[in-house]
Structures are given as C-alpha cells and as structure tokens.
Amino acid sequence: MTDYAHPEVLVSTEWLAAHLEDPAVRVLEVDWDPASAYELGHVPGAALVDWKREINDPVRRDILSRDQFVSLMERLGVTPQTTLVLYGDMRNWFAAFAFWTFRIYGHADIRLVNGGRRKWFEEDRPVAEAAPALVAASYPAPEPTAGLRQSLSGVRDILGRSDHGLVDVRSPAEFSGAISAPPEYQNEGAQRSGHIPGAVNIPWAQAIQEDDTFKPVDQLRELYQSRGMTPDKSIVTYCRIGERSSHTWFVLTYLLGYPRVANYDGSWSEWGNAVGVPVEKSGAEAAEQVPA
C-alpha cells in the first residue's frame, strides 16, 4: 500500500485485527442494510452506522448536517483525535460515502479497510453479534473541508470544459441508458436514462481486485489516465446516489493523489430527474431517444 499517494488512509485486515482493542481507534461498520450485514455479524468491537438514518438527513435529501455529524460522533464516543476505521456492506460503497462525508466535516484521521467486510469474512476472522458499549464523548467540530462536493449547478457549469473531467462510475448499462435503476430501488429511479454529456464511463469496480482490495497504483493510474482523467484536471465523480462514486472519489483523491476531486452525490437520481439538463445516451440506446 506504500505506493499510493496517501497510504495512511488505508488499513489492511491484518492491521484491523491487531487494533481491535486499541482505545485510539473506533471501528465503524457503515451499512446500507444493517439487517443483512452488521446485525448478522461484524468485526468485534465495531459500532454500526446506519447509512440511511445517520449519514443522511432524515427529511430532506442531503447528507447529514454539521450538527447531526457532531451528534453522531458524540454518540459513537469519537473525539477529533480518534482514528476512525471504516468498512461496510455492499463492498465498502457506503463506508466510502461516510469517509467522504466525515472528511467534509473535517475529521482528520479516517481510514478505510482495504477489502472491507468481504475480505474479513473471506479470511475467516472473528465475528461478533453483540454491539459494543459506547461511552459518549464531546466533539468540538473541526473546520469543514471545502471542495469535496459538487452540485447539479456546479456540474452544469463545467460541461464541455477541457480542464474538467466527469467520471460516471455506474455500470455500462446505466451509462448507456439501457437501465435507469434496478426495480428494487424504487426511490432511485429517474425520468430519463443515460449519462451527463462528456462523462467517461469507468465503473467503480474496475479499481478493485477479486478480493475487493484496491488495484496497485500503476494499474489505477493507467485505468484513469488512459481515459483522459488526468491529475491536472478537476474531476467530478458520480453514480446514482453518490455512494459508488465516493469509492472512486477515494481512489482518485487518496490512492492516486489527484488534487481536485469532488463527488456529485446528487448523481443520476438528481440529474436524470432534472428538467432541462442535457442527457446523452450511447450505443444502441442512442438510436432510440424515446422518453422512458
């Protein structure tokens, strides 16, 4: 992991196993579906963060507010000095989203478990069912970090600019416009399918290996630079709701060290429902421009 631009943000499962009782470390499992993951078994001592309820505002569509972030950190017994170690279900997508959110709110030491939950189980490491007892802490919020988030209007402003790059990390079927969202995600659908004009399709999973660990840095560099996503550009990543694109945001920012990468968390579920924004389709879908 030492070849990455910022290897300090990544820990191995071996490292995690050796720090399960480290009082300076708080291990968090960030799940989209806790009933199918954390509640069945998790890394011993890991606390649950429910992505839907705790990383998002419960009413409006937005990430949690700064006050909600502070309350969450306090509930989890986290201080600004705590090392947060994140992993989660769905191949670390939501852990990466939490990483991005916590970074926006300025937490200094956050790390992602390379390979995540899947690798932990693959290695037959210990698993617990009981949640840890947490002692609430005081969390004076650090200063937020600017520039990590992009909005719909911000994406509109960069369309066609050669000093910017747009990475659509969804599957090829979503990118082409063949599908908008799987039927089981009724609240992630869109009125239009396709992609943002000028975006290149580099599915998130191309950054990982079979065991879910990240590819070596030279392969990652080749993956993105061969598609024109070079570090001299300001890069925006997006997917459908911003979680897969957080994974790619993490890769570009911390593994490759790109200086200006923002995640557009509104993603296709916002763009594909917005009135008047341009949409591109590709492949066979481009020949049939009929509203879905």
Binding site: W32, D33, S36, A37, L40, G41, D89, M90, R91, W93, R117, R118, W120, F121, E122, D124, V127, R170, S171, A173, E174, I179, P182, E184, Y185, P203, W204, A205, C239, R240, E243, R244
Partner: protein
C-alpha cells in the same frame, strides 16, 4: 420438486439489491416446505445466509463446495418467518 435457484455471483456492479436482500426476497416467496438453492463464491454471503437462516427458523439442508463456489439449499419450514 426442484428447488428454486438463486445465483449470487451476478449483478452487484449495477448497485442492485444486496446479496442477502436477494436471498430474503427469494425466500419470502417460498411456500412452506419449498426449497431455495443459492450459489455464491463469497464467504461473507455464506456467513450471512447461515446466520439469517438460523434467525428465521429456516433449515440449511445441503451445503457443497465446487470450483470456488458454494451451493446451499435452504428449506422454508411449515411455520417460519420470512
């Protein structure tokens, strides 16, 4: 009657339902006594299926491994939750 079949080795990249979510949805459609065959190559899935099955009173009738993939056969008992 042959068991219903669920292959967990596909579709994750499209951000579809979680593997366990797919198992739960498939299991919920079983009539009492019907079986569900699940194929996966992921240890996390296996752990989850076994743990979840215990919770809902399901039975793991068979478990076999071949070529890096594991096949489990679950049966929904006559009176179980889903």
């Amino acid at each position: 009657m042959d068991p219903w079949h669920l292959d967990l080795t596909t579709a994750e990249e499209e951000c579809g339902d979680s593997a366990m979510g797919r198992v739960r949805r498939a299991y919920a459609t079983l009539a009492p006594g019907e079986r569900l065959e699940v194929v996966t190559g992921v240890a996390e899935h296996l752990f989850g299926i076994r743990a979840w099955s215990r919770r809902v009173g399901g039975e793991v009738l068979e478990e076999s491994r071949e070529g890096g993939r594991t096949r489990l056969v679950l049966r929904r008992p006559s009176a179980s939750a889903s």
